[in-house]
């Protein structure tokens, strides 16, 4: 991490006059404020001001002074933002999503408040004043035009909202970001608060409905910091056997749906969560029979980039990149070529219920556990410990044409069953979950009652090691449950989780 001398990216004289060091910029952030930071899955987060701020907080702590801020972002960021601020216990309230180990530890120790919000809801909640005042925005950009407009970085996230809503703005201009990013974004300025909302005129994944630049009132900019620092890369490992099997079940299912006439031959726009299973599904699609695919999703992962290169995927709309270092290097070497295939949008649009419903997105998201009736837990380990957060999974699943949730059937070497009698926390209800997939198989829950779902989930998704115990629970629930719409034995419903907590295995 270093400050570059390449200041040719700041073409606005008024903003050039605000150039200062990260330390000087961080000194402008007082304790007690809410700060809206850029950043989405390790792309486009501010690289130097947060850690300079962490240093400032540590210094204050040494002198016994309390110094905490509220940190709002697009989604997860990186160790030099979430990690650094959590390390010095500098975060009072974090929203809407995180995946940092230090941050997670603080939250689960009860030392940091965390609000886990649908990513599509953040912009409107802030604009409506539901989350309190946004004081300062700290936003990374790839450059500044002469008239003050900003070239967005490798993620858009909530930046439009932060720049618009914050009283003061600190910009980081990162000369490491590829100049070819210019023109890749589509920033829509047509959203309103009710009663002034209009239809969002996006009809197809490839539609551009906005502008290539972020607007920012130069009078609000209190600091401009130059950086030359890479994004956090996402680790990428080749899909393991379970991921390949899950991908195989999904592909078989999609082919079946096309054959039945329930999906077009080129499917519908794909949404895919982050991780190895998602990459495996993309790898499978890249080998598969479908052509002219599109993706309307949050993040562009390695698997989708491969599909763009092969021509299988004609267009991907996202709000951020989330690439391995190899894929990123490859992309950056030839970024200009992809401008017709990749569009980066604000997350209020990438995750907007109106658009997801209209396009008929096929939503594929990971999960922690599902219960036999199809309720899905995406966020809490054993019901109380936050893992990351709901992210966009609810935005997509709830409004999708097809909502698919996937996980290996077991975790921790077989000590945990990911199919349980009752989910220990519910993020996606029985009303919103259509397809469950593990390496064991796929359960199509559409048109099934809870009892029929239980049969499908146990038979198709549970690991053989846990199947007898699930069948035993379900059979006894059927016999003894007071109500038989959703048969349960309340005294046992969470006993699998308790057993794990007490004995280390379900």
């Amino acid at each position: 991490m270093q400050t570059s001398s390449e200041s040719s990216r700041i073409h606005c004289p008024r903003l050039r006059s605000k150039i200062m060091s990260a330390e000087a910029a961080a000194a402008l952030i007082p304790s007690g404020v809410n700060v809206g930071m850029s950043g989405f899955t390790g792309a486009g987060y501010p690289k130097v001001v947060p850690s300079a701020l962490a240093k400032r907080i540590m210094d204050a702590n040494i002198y016994g002074k309390k110094f905490k801020i509220g940190v709002w972002t697009g989604a997860s960021t990186a160790p030099d933002l979430d990690g650094a601020l959590a390390m010095v216990d500098g975060v009072e309230m974090r929203l809407p999503y995180q995946s940092d180990p230090t941050c997670r530890k603080r939250i689960n120790a009860g030392e940091m408040e965390y609000i886990d919000i649908h990513l599509s809801h953040v912009a409107q909640f802030v604009w409506s004043g539901f989350l309190g005042k946004l004081d300062i925005a700290v936003v990374e950009v790839a450059g500044i035009l002469e008239d003050g407009r900003l070239i967005p970085s490798s993620s858009v996230g909530n930046n439009k909202t932060w720049l618009d809503q914050a009283d003061k703005v600190i910009l980081e201009v990162n000369s490491w970001q590829n100049p070819e990013l210019e023109g890749m974004h589509d920033i829509y300025y047509g959203t309103q608060l009710p009663p002034n909302r209009k239809p969002i005129p996006l009809l197809r994944t490839q539609d551009r409905i906005g502008e290539a630049y972020l607007r920012c009132d130069p009078a609000k900019v209190i600091a401009v910091v130059e950086t030359h620092s890479p994004d956090r890369n996402s680790a990428f490992s080749a899909p393991d056997e379970n991921s390949r099997k899950i991908a195989g079940h999904i592909l078989e299912f999609l082919e079946h749906e096309v054959k039945k006439g329930r999906l077009p031959a080129n499917l519908l726009p794909l949404q895919s969560g982050v991780g190895n299973i998602a990459n495996a599904v993309m790898a499978g699609l890249n080998q598969g029979p479908f052509e002219n695919l599109t993706a309307y999703t949050e993040v562009l992962q390695d698997g989708m980039l491969e599909m763009i290169k092969s021509g299988k995927l004609t267009c991907a709309s996202a709000t951020a990149f989330s690439l391995s270092s190899g894929a990123l290097a490859e992309l950056n070497a030839d970024l200009g070529r992809y401008k017709n295939n990749i569009i980066l949008r604000p997350q209020e649009i990438s995750n907007h219920p109106e658009i997801i419903r209209r396009l008929g997105v096929i939503a594929m998201n990971g999960m922690i556990e599902a219960d036999i009736y199809g309720n899905v837990n995406s966020t809490h380990v054993m019901g109380t410990k936050i893992m990351n957060g709901i992210g966009g999974s609810g935005d997509f699943a709830r409004n999708a044409f097809l909502s698919i949730f996937m996980t290996p059937s077991q975790a921790r070497g077989g000590e945990i069953s990911c199919i349980v009698p009752m989910a220990s926390h519910v993020d996606h209800t029985e009303h919103d979950v259509q397809i469950l997939v593990t390496e064991q198989g796929l359960a199509d829950l559409r048109g099934l009652s809870p009892k029929q779902r239980a049969r499908a989930v146990i038979d198709n998704c549970a690991h053989p090691h846990f199947k007898p115990a699930l069948n035993d629970y379900y059979k006894r629930a059927l016999d003894h449950s007071p109500g038989k719409q959703t048969p349960h034995l309340l005294e046992e419903a969470l006993s699998w989780h308790l057993r794990y907590l007490r004995q280390g295995a379900m």
Copy 2:
């Protein structure tokens, strides 16, 4: 219930030739089919064919023959539909919502399958083929034009979809329905399956975007039955003290939001669930300071009708009436006058996420219980017994500008606390619940972490009788929970429900 001789309502000669008795029409429905029936909260359901069919099923059963059908509706219906068919055990699968005591008993005894679906999802799921084949539609209408178009009855529900998707159609023409209904409906034929969906051009509650009539291919009509029978009336009792207190808290909150500039002076379109609390809120608004209100909701209850009469409510959009006999008589005496104030739409539009989000609806729905972290159970008593169903509460709450859930703090004379440590079933997750209200007070959960929510919910909403036990649970959970994002003691989390089941009191 009787067949009228007034056949002047059937102006299409081709359909006049299909007039027959209810028994003859019911004889055209074989066992094993899926039947899409009209009806939404006791309005506009077929009055005679279902009970004639029930008789036919009973006769078959007497001779030892199995005779069951799938029953799909708009929402709840009436004893002569749901009750009659459930009584003879004639329903294999019921969807998407019911509230009939006999039906409920069968479902909870495990004798009838029931799929509890978001009301906005039904039309697209059927169209997409997700729920199997719709064989026969049985739809009540208020009249038939010469060209075969249908004057919709006192509810629209899923009728457009049933008429479109079913192979065969049976029409009941109910001369009891007010002829002035003609022109009150707005049937939008612009919905599509993806990838052909377009923005729905509805920008304000009062917009009409469709036609006054339902289309129906006369070639599919296999029977026309004449009836002259009233809708099931909704019982209406004057608001009790708890309902008035809940209404008072909500009004105070809305005034506060207007004062803070977070709501316009005439609020935003209101959605309100069915029941006495909802009516009390409307009564409160009718006395309150807000003018020029609108309602974008599912059903038009007595309270809203009063507000239209007083001029407080300028327009109500719904999919059905749900009135007491007194209010209905009053409305029918002067229905023509209300055509500018009332619009009845298909439920795919009244509950459409795109529209609810765009209009910024204020969603107010009842619930069975909420837990201290803001998860809401709308459907299952003690986690296993279905009460009615989720209905439209998810459609509205998830996409609303404000999502409010309300209940008295206690049930069954104080044996049940409606605020519990952990909800025994989750229909609305912590991510989708903003405001909880009981007669004790209102908890504004916006911008609060789970632990902050617990404090707000216990302090503001719990009954004093249960407050100490809730505080005790929460305190011990804070101390001993493995994770402190959502502190729980899993061995106790459902113990309140278990205690009620075993000892008759929580």
